[in-house]
């Protein structure tokens, strides 16, 4: 079965650069979530979209933005990167707005900021 696809899987950037992460949800899933997980930390919720509209917002820095496109894929844009942005970034998808069941996670994009 198709899973959540994230790209790139690994990304190395310098401080103050920008980065874009992409997420392709499971077919027919209309809700996408972004999480950030630092080393040894729990996943921190950043932002979510339902039917291309932002549905919830967590601890996403102002330097970050995201959107969901008409084909339901989502992109997380990160600017003015800082060392502390180094983390695993997970995308998850679900069918319908949260409250109806489980989230399906991708394998993550590992961002390293030097």
């Amino acid at each position: 079965a198709a899973g959540v696809i994230q790209s790139p899987r690994h990304l190395i950037k310098e401080k103050r650069e920008t980065a874009t992460l992409k997420c392709y949800p499971i077919p027919r899933h209309d809700t996408v979530y972004w999480y950030q997980q630092g080393p040894g930390q729990d996943p921190q919720f950043l932002i979510s979209f339902y039917e291309k509209m932002q549905s919830d917002k967590g601890s996403i820095p102002d330097r970050f933005s995201a959107q969901q496109f008409s084909d339901y894929h989502s992109e997380l844009n990160m600017s003015s990167l800082e060392l502390g942005d180094s983390a695993l970034y997970f995308c998850a998808s679900s069918l319908g707005p949260f409250g109806t069941g489980e989230l399906f996670f991708g394998e993550g994009s590992r961002l390293t900021v030097l």
């Binding site: 996943p43 919720f45 979510s48 949260f98 989230l103 996670f105």
Partner: protein, 112 residues
């Protein structure tokens, strides 16, 4: 802010033993879920328990929920080396359409 806190942070057991992990949360919830994460990999859903349920089973997994104490436990019976992973509880917030908030997780190590 952190919704779930897990206990213990780390657990080491032998194959065949049972592993119990606990999770506490702060606000009222619609449901609570448990996820597993192998090192550096994505999270995988294990089980969901609704706020009106007290216990749920799935294979070797048993989850309990005590809404009066705002706590849940995950029991893995007859553990295997392949169960070695981090386990997270996750709760939704009361308002529909909000995202899952994860606890700090328990790192389980099962040795053969």
């Amino acid at each position: 802010s952190q919704q779930g806190e897990e206990d213990p942070q780390a657990l080491s057991i032998q194959e065949g033993e049972n592993a119990t992990m606990n999770c506490s949360y702060k606000t009222s919830i619609n449901n609570l879920q448990w996820y597993r994460q192998n090192s550096g990999r994505g999270l995988v859903h294990l089980i969901l328990i609704r706020s009106n349920e007290r216990e749920k089973h799935s294979g070797r997994l048993r989850v309990t929920l005590d809404t009066s104490k705002k706590s849940s436990s995950l029991l893995i019976t007859a553990s295997r080396a392949a169960d070695t992973a981090s386990y997270f509880c996750a709760t939704d917030a009361p308002r529909e359409g909000t995202a899952l908030i994860f606890g700090k997780g328990t790192t389980l190590s099962v040795s053969s």
